[in-house]
């Protein structure tokens, strides 16, 4: 089991839906559980962030040290 934390840096307090492989799978600022492996991560809604999407490999994370992905 892996743990992912996605942050939207432009408005850190705003919660946005997180897209994993194109599906709304969780929300920003909160831990998302997932199987280890490669995924494409993006944000739902307005395209006011960069990069448009990030391909990540999640492996070896823990709830207290989740893999962090930031969009700005």
């Amino acid at each position: 089991m892996e743990f992912l934390l996605v942050v939207y840096g432009r408005e850190p307090d705003v919660e946005r839906d997180v897209l994993i492989d194109g599906v709304a799978a969780g929300i920003t600022n909160h831990l998302i559980t997932l199987d280890s492996g490669t995924y494409t991560v993006s944000l739902d809604g307005d395209s006011n962030f960069t990069p448009v999407e990030q391909e990540i490999l999640v492996n070896g994370s823990s709830p207290l040290r989740p893999m962090k992905v930031k969009f700005v």
Binding site: M1, H30, S36, T38, L64
Partner: protein, 470 residues
């Protein structure tokens, strides 16, 4: 000469019914969990049940569990509405004999408690299938290379399910959502009767008779033949799931995900996989739990989404119903080794129970990991300077795993008696009675089930405030 020509003509005409190709425009309705409304208008309590394979023994045991859930009252919501635990069942994933009960309940709801015993459990399905195959009128059809015993079985089961299709399940618009599981003979991996799976073979699940899905799920090796589906080209609108591409890089990171994706990708190669031949779901997973586990660990799965999003579900409950795959072996009483038929049967079924225990433990491990993660986060918050800096889950979802297994019967004689009931499709009604009763008893004595009921009990009402005295 004329008769031979007629037989030959009939044989050449006989063909299994082909699946419909996906239309060029994406259908608005598709058989998926998200398309089917929750039973009590909320997903706060998400109950998923799995029914194992094991012939009528499994079907009756599964029916006993449904009966017990129907007779288990619970109180839900802020308005304190009275329901039964059965009302909260959102999905059923099933294999082989268990697929009959799952499909019948999904199609006909509470009617199962009126007529299912007559329509299926108390019937000699095996005998009827034998006589159908023995009927000389069916012989020309059976001579065709494109029509076999499993197609006759699907016709027989059509009577059980009143020739309903997945379109009828969609039109019913009520849960439970069902995943009937078969096994792809080429890859050895599970083949689910869901639109997501059928997308990969370019086929429209809506038009498929439920009976054919159940027949595929219960096509026991040697006794029955595989069911065949044409692997159609996908329409332009279809995009395969991202995991199929990404997991190709994950061999050293997640072999399980890599292998699943590798097998699923074979369906995209329309030349090498022009047809898909599927058999009994028990060959890949005899308890039907793997399909649901994937929904929990894959972040795009419907269970994962409910775990990771705010206010989606406060409890996700797995009730794993396993009637085991066969009778206890007596081989070791004899010096002479088992004969060819015994070895063939054992080869086909041994892996089933081995996988079952591992699969349940995999789920329990996920449950423990998540519980531990929550404890670690709470402990960290307690000592952190700024607790809000410690990332937490969006929701407070608790996972329950309830293992209902004939092997857990405490009384040795009763356990031996029930495990010795055959796993064929013809049982004496007293055996059916015992299996139904055992399911209820096992739930009554199951500590995890009792913990769930305790957790679902409404908090005691506050005592009335005494009138103020002057």
């Amino acid at each position: 000469m004329l008769a031979a020509a007629a037989v030959s003509a009939l044989a050449s005409c006989a063909h299994y019914p082909k699946t419909a190709q996906l239309p060029p425009q994406k259908p608005a309705a598709r058989y998926g969990f998200e398309q089917i409304p929750a039973p009590a208008a909320d997903d706060d309590l998400l109950v998923c049940v799995t029914f194992s394979g094991g012939g009528t023994r499994a079907a009756a045991f599964a029916y006993g569990v449904l009966l017990k859930l129907r007779d288990t009252p619970i109180v839900r919501g802020k308005d304190g509405r009275h329901e039964t635990l059965l009302d909260e069942v959102d999905c059923i994933s099933s294999v082989s004999g268990g697929s009959f009960t799952a499909a019948y309940y999904a199609l006909f709801g509470a009617r199962i408690f009126q007529d299912y015993r007559r329509v299926f459990l108390d019937r000699d399905i095996e005998g009827e299938l034998f006589w159908k195959a023995a009927n000389p009128f069916n012989w020309p059809r059976l001579l065709s290379p494109y029509f076999s015993r499993i197609d006759l079985a699907a016709e027989l089961y059509g009577g059980v399910f009143q020739n309903k299709t997945y379109a009828d399940l969609l039109a019913g618009a009520h849960r439970p959502y069902i995943i009937l599981n078969a096994t792809d003979l080429a890859t050895g991996d599970g083949f689910e009767f869901t639109q997501d799976q059928f997308d990969l073979i370019g086929s429209d699940l809506a038009a498929l008779p439920i009976a054919r899905a159940v027949a595929a799920s219960s096509a026991f090796p040697f006794l029955l033949t595989p069911i065949t589906f044409t692997n159609h080209a996908e329409p332009d609108w279809y995009k395969p799931p991202g995991a199929l591409k990404h997991a190709a890089n994950d061999y050293y990171v997640n072999r399980r995900r890599y292998t699943w994706a590798l097998h699923q990708r074979t369906y995209l190669d329309k030349e090498s996989t022009a047809y898909v031949h599927v058999m009994d779901g028990g060959l890949a997973d005899n308890i039907g739990l793997r399909a649901l586990e994937r929904q929990l660990v894959d972040p795009t799965g419907f269970l994962s989404q409910r775990y990771n999003k705010k206010g989606k579900a406060s409890r996700i409950v797995f009730i794993v119903v396993d009637s085991k795959s066969g009778e206890p072996s007596t081989y070791n009483k004899e010096e002479s080794p088992p004969g060819l038929l015994d070895v063939a049967f054992k080869t086909a079924t041994t892996s089933m129970d081995n996988f079952s225990a591992e699969t349940i433990e995999f789920l329990r491990d996920r449950q423990r990991e998540l519980d531990q993660a929550r404890q670690d986060i709470e402990a960290c918050k307690a000592i952190a300077c700024k607790p809000s800096d410690v990332a937490d889950f969006a929701g407070k979802t608790e996972i329950h795993v309830i293992d209902v297994n004939l092997e857990a019967i405490a009384d040795c004689d009763q356990r031996a008696r029930l495990l010795s009931i055959g796993t064929n499709f013809s049982l004496h009604s007293t055996d059916v009675d015992q299996l139904i009763r055992a399911a209820g008893d096992l739930l009554d004595q199951n500590p995890d089930f009792q913990s769930l009921l305790k957790a679902l009990r409404p908090p005691p009402a506050a005592p009335p405030t005494p009138p103020a005295t002057k």
